[in-house]
Symmetry: C2
Subunit: 283 residues, 2 copies
């Protein structure tokens, strides 16, 4: 390990550390001690990083005064990058052969790949940062990778609602809900220790069909006196589902049609996302 | 967006891009076009980044020749940072009150927090990089966040084994196995599309009690002609479990004792991890 880093080296190492600790309040004293340099030098380094990420539109460096003082790196995905990325994912989702028996769209390969979920996470973190959430919530299983990456970019804890009571969660609170995809009454359960109460939560999931899971999650969180303040969905099952909710639903894509016979699906960018990023029209 | 970035600005932005695209082969042409500078300038920037991360022990920049040429950023966690971090997690895990009825250790709050799973991921990525895996595999649910972060730092796809057949996975291959925690025969199922065959897989999970899940995963992957070449576990249920496997098992911690009466657990660093990082003795 080097005993002394040059400014260029520090900018490289510090920039990477800030990305890894996105959303976290990092104390200047800690950084000064870690890199064995004066606090004033760290402040100068951070100013240069702030200017660069703001110029390139990839993040904000927020200063927080108060005891000791600290900074928080808030990653941002810029409009062009988000559009180019979502366009590519849309093309992959529309590839022939993705329609499964029962009219389901096969997404597992894409939604489990870190290069994709990581960008979903950056997009949701960008969209929801102004809601000041305390926690990211998802229901097992397919939404977890995207929810995890969103939590990571926002520096927030992830809470995973389970389908069954598990002895590893301790005492739980459970509710029944009607699943949109199976039309059956199912269980949703969350450990008492998972939330303290009064949290502002963003609910993230990969797909929203009928909305039963979202309604269930809202009801379950009420039992903890916690509130769902935003919902982020990768694919909305149809444009109309959104109208059934009083909470705004941000989805990346809308499933426009799915044809089991030809095994073809058509998707569009959702209004919520194209308006947020100020894209001119839907594609 | 700035039309032209200075070298310092580029070093900041590029360093962050490389972390976000860890493990991915990134072409120099793409970077040159994106940042609107000559390929030779990008090469110089990357050399500076390589020197800085190598001096500080936080990563490697591997060059790959061949068509177009490219680089791959491989993050590394250095021995001191890994030790300080694991020491802190150990203290949290040993906090009074974590022992649940049935003698289970409550870990959900820690193992779902991105600041912790992210470091677990960095450690596993560092440990397993020399095995040249193609894929990270886990079984739902509690291991997913750590497996996802490992996959992310290695730039590899994540494959999640399910407990039930789901219509969203298409045709599946299933096996039965005996769960270590429940002593019941349970199902393990994986979509046919999840693996192509012949993959070298790292299996990641949060806890290993009897080893039934790992044995099941090895058998299930054999059905795909894929091979588990490494196993990474956050907490090994007891020091003896490891002996039952021919594949080396790398765990971060070993659960030494758990007392339901006093609600106290004692853990140690595992030999596998202290030997890898060359720490002097067990603590």
């Amino acid at each position: 390990m080097a005993s002394r880093l040059s400014r260029q080296e520090r900018l490289i190492i510090l920039s990477q550390e800030l990305i890894k600790r996105s959303g976290e309040l990092v104390s200047l004293d800690e950084l000064a001690e870690k890199y064995k340099i004066a606090r004033s030098t760290i402040s100068e380094d951070l100013s240069l990083i702030r200017e660069a990420v703001e110029a390139w539109g990839t993040g904000e460096v927020q200063s927080s005064s108060g005891v000791g003082g600290g900074i928080r790196f808030v990653p941002i995905i810029n409009s062009d990058e988000a559009k180019a990325f979502l366009q590519k994912v849309k093309e992959r989702l529309e590839e022939k052969g993705r329609v499964l028996p029962g009219g389901f769209l096969y997404t597992t390969d894409l939604f489990n790949h870190p290069s994709i979920t990581s960008k979903f996470g950056e997009i949701f973190a960008t969209v929801f940062s102004n809601l000041s959430p305390d926690v990211i919530v998802t229901m097992e299983t397919k939404g977890i990778p995207t929810a995890m990456m969103t939590a990571r970019y926002m520096g927030l804890p992830l809470v995973i609602i389970r389908r069954e009571n598990r002895p590893t969660e301790g005492p739980t609170v459970s509710i029944n809900y009607i699943s949109g995809s199976t039309q059956k009454v199912q269980l949703m359960t969350l450990g008492r220790k998972a939330l303290e109460g009064r949290e502002r939560a963003i609910f993230i999931d990969d797909f929203l069909r009928g909305g039963g899971t979202v309604r269930g999650a809202i009801a379950l969180l009420k039992e903890f006196n916690a509130q769902v303040v935003g919902v982020g969905i990768v694919i909305l099952g149809s444009p109309k589902v959104r109208e059934a909710f009083s909470i705004p639903i941000t989805s990346l894509f809308v499933l426009e049609s799915i044809n089991e016979l030809t095994s073809e699906a058509r998707l569009s960018f959702s209004d919520s996302i194209s308006e947020f990023f100020n894209w001119e029209g839907k594609e």
